[in-house]
Subunit: 422 residues, 2 copies
């Protein structure tokens, strides 16, 4: 078969029912009463999820491996055993009250692509790997996307080993326990070469659904910036202290959030501005708050817009301090990144060929692909999720959309695995 | 001596050093490391404070009594043993991190007035009582001003007995223990007649100090209204959810507080508007809050202004709900009250005669006098406190100001206790 025909044959071999049944089997591990999933990184549930992946891999005769941060690799060998693999995957851990598909789809759907390639009888030059990255969500150990960050050399494993969860269990101990649950797996070094990386994921936003589209050819990941704003005023008696003599930390913080809303105003609705935490102290109805605290989460894909807004965040807060002290502390800064142009075009092209309505769009959320993008040509495939709801037990997707994503992924993997320089 | 001369003789007998020394002795009971006082109602510290009052009362031969909610009465008899007493007093309990003077000054300063009357050799027609009302602060058992409310028939004691503090101790048990610590005291009925009531208190606001005044002739207590505002939106992913499709409970709550600030705007700076509690959930920086909650504390002395603003609070919140649900629940409503015109004039007149710069002013805070005002002619005497700071360990006042207040009080008590119908 010609290379493109082989890619399409692999896509055609994706089995919607088999994929859905595997998604549901995975969702039973850590299932919550409200229909979601609670599968913390390196927990018993995470280990059961890994065991299920290995069971499926062994049944199809695939090769398996791990590394020192327990990233899990499932390989379908290529003709050239020593060639760098084409890799797909995502993560098996979830938010504490997360959904069935965030992360799990990228692993289970990646495995479906691998099985489809196998069942279509397609041979590839390069090996194709499905990876389950450790601790993407960061719910138990921070930061998230830890497995891919350590793999990519963005974080050092040694620096993370002492991290403790809220029960005092260290990452070192949790890793030891998890690695012991999959004894005898070959261990790979961090940063070993990838020929290319394509990650499938639910969109986690409403655009594909709203526009009646099936596939998103992801162009990159928008920039992400976190700030902590601390406002210090003076506690005072609510009944006796005239408003003009107060230094009211709550009202200053409210004025800051209002002013930041104006700063972030955007006709195109591209800016993402969220205040997710907001506290005031001492928190008594009859006491003027002496201290307030809030977080700013700001995201945008365009470096010029980012630069303009970032430079105004602290001055805007200071301009509305109303006599209070204010400190604006950056907590996180991830510049926007762009995926590989050829991979984006390939995702778009195969989606069209397979008859799936497709659009190019940036990712609003961070993903493991963001770290791997530094190492090799990288892209992502989005499929719709119901009402854009994610990080929520109500997260949902349709079997047909998941299968469309897996088919598009299978085609890309075969194509990339047959290129000399993908 | 003529009645007015006797009143002034009593005032002249107030001893600044003795009063200060007693204030400092009282402040040692429950003293905090930061210089404040932690003396919860019906606690061991409260019982020690009562014991100290009784020790001073016995040393001067005064009569003592209590009632079923452990309000403590110290009496200097009058010529007419069966006449209704003229009463002064306040409370001995404090905020958890309270100051030395809030409440304690009204009891200790009242006792100083009683001793001054005694030492001046002034006899009165009516008895004069100093009362320490139980649980004014409401820090351990809610509501506050409980002792005076039960005395005045505003609350029933039976309804309060089952209240539990955060350790699970009931009011009934705490009362039993407190009453057992002062065995053998005669027990008075609730609501027994008072001829008049005058309460001395620190201002708890900055006005007297700012205007260089010594005495406030308190005209009444401003109206006090509490609301709980609950905002219900939808949790969403901070990176992926376009702002236009969000129902962001935090931003709606911020818009409501801003709009309430505009509603409360007041050139005369008489309105008191405080948001003392403000929360949002789930409180994760990367999650759009699905729920927010805040309290409104609104106070004003003028019924017309109160009516206008109260009628606009819920509509103002609803107008800024931004697609979220909002409920505005009244938590507390105390109409403004006016003290007795003769008592106000008497406080003002004696302050002037005694050479203390005086002003008529409303009370921003609630006081036991608010309940007793329903029973008999009532007034209050304010003295300055440093920078208006109260409900705070830094609360402070000067010995001279406290003595000026006790002198004015002594004169009023003698005058009232010699009137047939004060």
């Amino acid at each position: 078969m010609e290379a493109r025909a082989e890619a399409l044959a692999a896509a055609a071999a994706v089995d919607e029912a088999r994929l859905w049944s595997r998604q549901m089997a995975m969702a039973e591990i850590g299932a919550t009463a409200a229909g979601g999933v609670n599968r913390a990184a390196l927990s018993d549930e995470d280990r059961r999820a890994r065991a299920l992946m290995l069971e499926w891999a062994f049944a199809l005769g695939f090769e398996v491996a791990t590394d020192a941060i327990a990233n899990l690799y499932i390989r379908r060998p290529g003709r050239r055993a020593d060639a760098a693999p084409v890799v797909t995957g995502s993560h098996l851990d979830s938010q504490p009250r997360g959904g069935k598909f965030d992360g799990a789809y990228g692993v289970v759907g990646g495995f479906e692509a691998l099985e489809a390639i196998q069942r279509a009888g397609v041979e590839t030059e390069r090996p194709i790997d499905v990876v389950a990255w450790t601790n993407e969500e960061g719910g138990r150990f921070q930061p998230g996307a830890m497995g891919s960050a350590v793999f990519a050399g963005v974080l050092s494993l040694e620096d993370q080993l002492g991290l403790a969860d809220t029960d005092g269990v260290t990452l070192a101990d949790a890793l030891t326990e998890t690695l012991a649950s999959t004894p005898g797996l070959p261990q790979r070094p961090f940063g070993h070469p990838f020929a290319a990386y394509v990650e499938a994921h639910i969109e986690q936003g409403p655009r594909l659904e709203n526009e009646g589209l099936t596939i998103g050819a992801v162009t990159g990941i928008q920039g992400l910036y976190w700030y902590a704003v601390e406002v210090t005023g003076a506690e005072a008696h609510a009944g006796t202290t005239p408003l003009r003599t107060r230094r009211d930390a709550l009202k200053a913080a409210v004025a800051m959030v209002s002013a930041l809303e104006e700063l972030m105003a955007d006709e195109s609705d591209t800016v993402r501005f969220t205040v997710g935490r907001f506290e005031c102290h001492p928190g008594s109805p009859a006491t003027v708050p002496g201290r307030a605290f809030f977080t700013v989460d700001f995201r945008h894909p365009d470096p010029a817009v980012i630069e303009r807004i970032r430079s105004r965040i602290a001055p805007t807060c200071e301009a509305h301090a109303r006599g209070c002290g204010v400190t604006v502390r950056p907590l996180m800064a991830h510049a926007p990144l762009t995926f590989d142009a050829d991979v984006i075009a390939m995702v778009e092209g195969y989606a069209e060929t397979l008859g799936h309505p497709v659009v190019r769009l940036p990712s609003g959320a961070g993903h493991d692909a963001g770290h791997i993008n530094h190492l090799c040509p990288t892209g992502m495939i989005f499929v719709p999720c119901e009402r854009g709801v994610s990080h929520n037990e109500a997260e949902n997707a349709t079997p047909a959309d998941l299968a469309a994503g897996a088919g598009t992924l299978a085609a890309c993997l075969v194509d990339l695995a047959n290129r000399e320089q993908p």
